[in-house]
Assembly symmetry: C2
Homo-oligomer: 218 residues x 2
């Protein structure tokens, strides 16, 4: 086995995103670098590097002299992110080879139908959903586009824990995934793209009601 040596900043970034998924951090909360570094068992330097990366992805905000804080959530921003990801994933689909998409359709269908046990871990459910989208986009030859999608989705992680334990939402999601896959199996990429857009739009609408209004701290 080739043992992995990755920069601390990347590991820290992932750990912070994980905690974000778990809802550990309150949106809008200021980050105390010394405390957080101690908690993670690293020094401030790689921690700050990770924070800067996350700020670049929109997960955090930074203000001169005031450090970093988790960007406050808002239904406006969530809508904006959904519009962006919908556009990017649609583009990725359009750039993919239609034949390869058709070949992959059965696998996509299978995965969409086998949604995880309702009592499964929240993290596992989210992972299942992510995996489906990753598989869908996997045939897109535009690597930069795929990286970009990953990065933008990181910025959406602040919202994912809000849907915890909502079975009906997940069923709708699975349903829509099936529809997309069926279009692909039929070789109709345009229809699949449209369905994918709808998937994000409806996901947006489903979520928008559960986003708390967070007043901007003075």
């Amino acid at each position: 086995m080739a043992i992995q040596r990755r920069p601390l900043r990347e590991q820290i970034r992932e750990e912070l995103l994980l905690r974000l998924d778990r809802g550990d951090f309150a949106a809008g909360k200021d980050i105390n670098e010394v405390v957080l570094a101690a908690e993670l068992g690293v020094s401030r330097t790689p921690l700050r590097e990770a924070l800067i990366t996350l700020a670049g992805e929109g997960v955090l905000e930074s203000n001169q002299g005031r450090g970093f804080r988790f960007a406050p959530v808002s239904s406006k921003e969530f809508r904006e992110l959904c519009e962006i990801v919908a556009g990017l994933e649609s583009l990725a689909l359009e750039l993919s080879d239609p034949d390869e998409l058709r070949e992959m359709a059965p696998e996509l269908l299978r995965l969409a139908r086998s949604f995880p046990d309702p009592v499964a871990e929240q993290s596992e459910i989210e992972w299942h959903d992510d995996e489906w989208h990753d598989l869908l986009l996997g045939k897109c030859p535009n690597e930069r586009l795929l990286d970009l999608v990953t990065s933008v989705k990181a910025g959406m992680r602040r919202y994912t824990h809000l849907i915890a334990g909502e079975d009906t939402l997940l069923e709708r999601e699975a349903e829509e995934h099936c529809r997309i896959a069926e279009h692909l199996r039929a070789g109709d990429v345009a229809a699949a793209t449209a369905a994918l857009r709808d998937n994000w739009v409806s996901g947006m609408e489903r979520m928008t009601s559960r986003i708390p209004v967070t007043p901007e701290p003075a």
Copy 2:
């Protein structure tokens, strides 16, 4: 006047992008942090922060233990970036208020026609082009999308200096801008969007021949 206080990392980032526009750096070139920090008159810490940001935007690559280097240029990557920006700008246009776009059309036309003097500074010419696109997208209400466009375009700056002193290319560009603006004036956003896509595609084709093939360093 409110005097500005901005983090060094941001100023460094901009300075590096400026130098990139000027073609100061060879693509694929390794960065020596100590040398560059001394050259800029700052310490390695804020420099590294800027480098990490730029790596996140795709301007640089980073390898464990090997530090940062300017990402090598390739026609494949340039094509990918053009596809992405075309998609994002089209999306921004579709999300804009059609009425506001129509109102802005005359200004866009004026600006497109008044392309700068052929003998103007290269940087000024590029700025002119950027300004036109910024104005075009300015009415889009999706702020995150606009930030994203800016970020992706930063990743394209490695290519801009390659078109230095190509008058014919610029005339084609201005021509296409006029066409887009005229569609908007007519209230036909869909046609304008299509023309915008074409603008990027043709820009891609025009450029692709002048991108040198850089063999991957071992």
